[in-house]
């Protein structure tokens, strides 16, 4: 019979793998995890939260820019997208990054409708990822609370 810890650990592993498989995360996230150690135990959480803050800020900037009907500053939107692309690729937010590429193209072609759509999608994606990662962290916490060790998940 599995102990609680073992169960939780298995759950964590499965969940992590699924996130990768669904394309939410990529190897950069793995890299982030590698950088986490005793010296910086909450590194991943820290970076990820920074990322999400970034997302919020950039998305609101873009929304504001796109809201200027008739006078949309696509360059501004474009640079924000670029920023978002950078952050998302750094943390391994694969889907977000993918969306940014499309988004950038819309900005370059000044496709207002496309930009708006992309923006909406980005918004959905980042929130979704945020939720999932939150779950992941919760699982980890539970494991720790149950006295177990967070397992290394090799993708």
């Amino acid at each position: 019979m599995d102990t609680l810890v073992a169960q939780l650990q298995r759950q964590l592993r499965d969940y992590t793998i699924s996130l990768y498989h669904q394309g939410f995360l990529d190897d950069q996230f793995t890299e982030l995890k590698k950088l986490q150690d005793e010296c910086s135990p909450d590194f991943v959480a820290e970076v990820v939260s920074l990322f999400f803050e970034d997302c919020e800020k950039l998305i609101s900037n873009m929304a504001r820019a796109l809201d200027q009907t008739g006078n949309v500053d696509f360059k501004l939107v474009g640079s924000s997208v670029h920023q978002l692309k950078g952050s998302s690729s750094s943390v391994g937010a694969k889907r977000v990054k993918g969306l940014c590429i499309t988004f950038k193209e819309c900005c370059d072609s000044q496709n207002f409708g496309g930009c708006v759509r992309c923006l909406q999608q980005v918004d959905i994606e980042y929130k979704s990822l945020k939720a999932k990662l939150q779950d992941l962290f919760n699982l980890e916490q539970q494991i720790v609370q149950a006295g177990g060790r967070i397992p290394q998940v090799d993708i």
């Binding site: 890299e31 950088l35 670029h82």
Partner: protein, 627 residues
């Protein structure tokens, strides 16, 4: 290793920081490029490397790049853009590396290489050959006659602790930096070795076919850019042209073929300034720079400015020269000696700093002077003065010998020599001073020795590159087109003493000469200081360098005589081999040992006027101790 990380994206920045920490680097991070600039400016020594994002809202990443480059810090660009153009732009601007986000640990693990590379490059450039050579740039770029000697190193490498790296002004600026065209260009020091390689390359390729790219490949010098070579080549060509123009005299076959020596001469002259300083040459013994201008190109080549170590002077073995009576004296200095017709050289305008013109004059003067074997390196006793009748401007010889002589009494001679050398150097076409350094120096040694030439010495004129005439009692004053030669008495005397027969110096007003040189007659043409080597017998293959007759007839040429003042270091008479027929060219055949001494002496002298150095350079003294 201390890294400054700049990125406006907090997520990326945090990750970057962690990565760098993981690599065991010390990290300072900032999101604002303004803050980064501040940090760099205030504490430039605090960082070894800068990593910066390219796209930042408040500042362009390239600006940071430029500043980092100014401080010789390696800068790595970071960007989410991975397209070819962006990467190219980064590299062109001088970035050491261009990383694409997301950055991985393995990429950052190796960035220390850039720091090491820079340090090594800097180090290498710092210890580049001929460190004692004068700044080529100055001497030949900005003919200012000032003989500042600075060691210029190629400033490509850069590190905060490389305090001794200096930027060359002249040469360096023209040499242009290494890689990127937009960054501050480190200066390339065209040392003798480097110049020699360059010349070899050009010769191999053929002057007509010598294109910078090929030369660059041929030379195969790391860190040298095509631009460097191109500008050097341009100067070289100008130099050759000048030489050709001025060289219409009979050039003895053994004139030096390459321009090398001349260049080196020039530089040497430059470097020899210090010689003059210590000598007490009466200012009157300035040799007209004009004399120096007429250097046969070959002269230059022979003047292997090997280096300017006076101490090495004697040891300088000229590859090509036969036993040079002058021992260390390179006859390279004066291929011209053969042409030393001490005919009145046309007034050369001495470029303010360049001896170039002067050298030419000297060359012209060489009236069939025996040119020392062009290959004669300085220290070598390769002075085989070609012809007995050669009135070689044994400038070179002068250097060696007179130096020795000078020790006795040619103190002033040395000065004069050096100063005269300076003058002569001035005649030389500008060429990367670097290469000249050696030669210049050597020539400087013998300003006076060689020159009893009718050159007009004026007080403020550079002393004629030693015609090896002992000391001229009165140097020809510059203003005196008649070529009143004022020789340093001492110089002449010393010179005379050492000379067996004493060179015959014909000199218009050179009392000394008559007195001291015995049968030395100085055929001072109107304003030519022509040293005739009356003692044909003495021609022992005196280095042509001994040709002292850079003295141009035109007093006017003695403009930049400043250096030459009184530097008429007369070469020891013994040293001067005077060919029988005193013609314009005075060929002083100096016994090498004498010259060596003289050179050594001269070397020690601080250059009070450029003469010494100029002369020395002319003679291709290779060992010129830096002032």
């Amino acid at each position: 290793m201390r890294v400054l990380a700049v990125d406006d994206n907090p997520t990326c920045l945090r990750k970057l920081e962690e990565l760098l920490l993981r690599c065991k680097y010390h990290v300072t991070k900032t999101m604002e490029s303004k803050k980064a600039l501040e940090l760099l400016r205030e504490k430039s020594n605090m960082f070894d490397l800068v990593i910066s994002d390219v796209e930042m809202p408040d500042t362009d990443g390239f600006k940071l790049l430029e500043i980092g480059l100014e401080m010789d810090l390696p800068v790595i660009m970071l960007s989410a853009h991975s397209d070819y153009d962006s990467v190219m732009k980064g590299i062109i601007h001088g970035a050491c590396d261009y990383l694409v986000k997301p950055v991985g640990l393995k990429e950052l693990r190796n960035i220390w290489q850039h720091v090491v590379k820079k340090n090594i490059t800097t180090y290498k450039k710092n210890i580049s050959p001929s460190p004692q050579l004068l700044t080529p740039s100055e001497s030949h770029l900005a003919p200012s006659g000032s003989k500042k000697r600075k060691e210029k190193v190629n400033d490509s490498g850069g590190d905060e602790d490389e305090s001794d790296r200096e930027d060359e002004d002249g040469e360096g600026s023209e040499q242009d930096g290494d890689e990127s065209s937009t960054r501050k260009k480190p200066r390339v020091v065209w040392s003798q070795e480097l110049h020699q390689k360059f010349v070899n390359a050009v010769q191999q390729l053929g002057l007509d076919k010598a294109v910078p790219k090929k030369i660059l490949d041929f030379m195969n010098i790391e860190g040298l850019t095509r631009e460097n070579v191109a500008s050097h080549l341009q100067k070289y060509r100008l130099y050759l042209k000048k030489i050709d123009e001025s060289q219409h005299q009979n050039m003895t076959p053994d004139t030096f073929g390459t321009k090398d020596s001349s260049y080196f001469n020039m530089s040497q002259l430059d470097g020899l300034r210090d010689f003059t300083s210590t000598r007490q040459f009466p200012s009157s013994s300035l040799l007209s720079r004009s004399h120096l201008t007429r250097f046969h190109p070959s002269v230059y080549s022979s003047i292997n400015l090997q280096g300017t170590n006076s101490s090495n002077f004697n040891n300088h073995q000229s590859s090509s020269n036969s036993a040079n009576p002058f021992g260390t004296y390179h006859r390279t200095l004066f291929p011209r000696s053969q042409n030393v017709n001490l005919s009145p050289l046309e007034p050369l305008q001495f470029p303010t700093s360049k001896y170039m013109g002067d050298f030419k004059t000297i060359g012209d003067r060489a009236t069939g002077g025996s040119f020392l074997d062009t290959r004669m390196s300085f220290g070598s006793s390769s002075t085989s003065l070609p012809s007995a009748s050669s009135n070689n401007l044994m400038l070179q010889a002068n250097y060696t010998q007179p130096l020795h002589i000078a020790s006795d009494k040619n103190q002033p001679c040395h000065e004069a020599n050096s100063s005269s050398l300076n003058m002569s150097v001035h005649g030389l076409p500008r060429f990367p001073s670097h290469s000249w350094q050696g030669s210049l120096r050597t020539t400087n040694r013998f300003p006076s020795s060689c020159l009893p030439i009718n050159h007009v010495f004026s007080q403020d004129q550079v002393a004629y590159p030693g015609s090896g005439l002992g000391d001229c009692s009165s140097l020809v004053s510059a203003e005196n087109p008649g070529g009143e030669m004022q020789c340093e008495p001492q110089l002449l005397g010393a010179f005379m003493n050492t000379l067996d027969d004493g060179p015959k110096w014909e000199e218009q007003n050179c009392n000394m000469v008559n007195n001291q040189f015995g049968n030395v007659e100085y055929p001072l043409a109107a304003d030519n200081i022509v040293f005739r080597d009356n003692n044909a017998s003495r021609s022992k293959g005196l280095d042509e360098s001994l040709m002292m007759s850079p003295i141009e007839d035109s007093a006017t040429t003695i403009n930049n005589s400043q250096e030459y003042v009184g530097k008429f270091t007369m070469l020891d008479a013994d040293q001067m081999k005077h060919s029988g027929k005193p013609e314009n060219a005075l060929v002083v055949e100096n016994q090498h040992d004498v010259f060596d001494d003289i050179m050594n002496e001269m070397m020690k002298q601080d250059e009070n006027n450029g003469l010494v150095s100029a002369v020395a350079t002319r003679f291709g003294f290779d060992s010129f101790p830096p002032p």
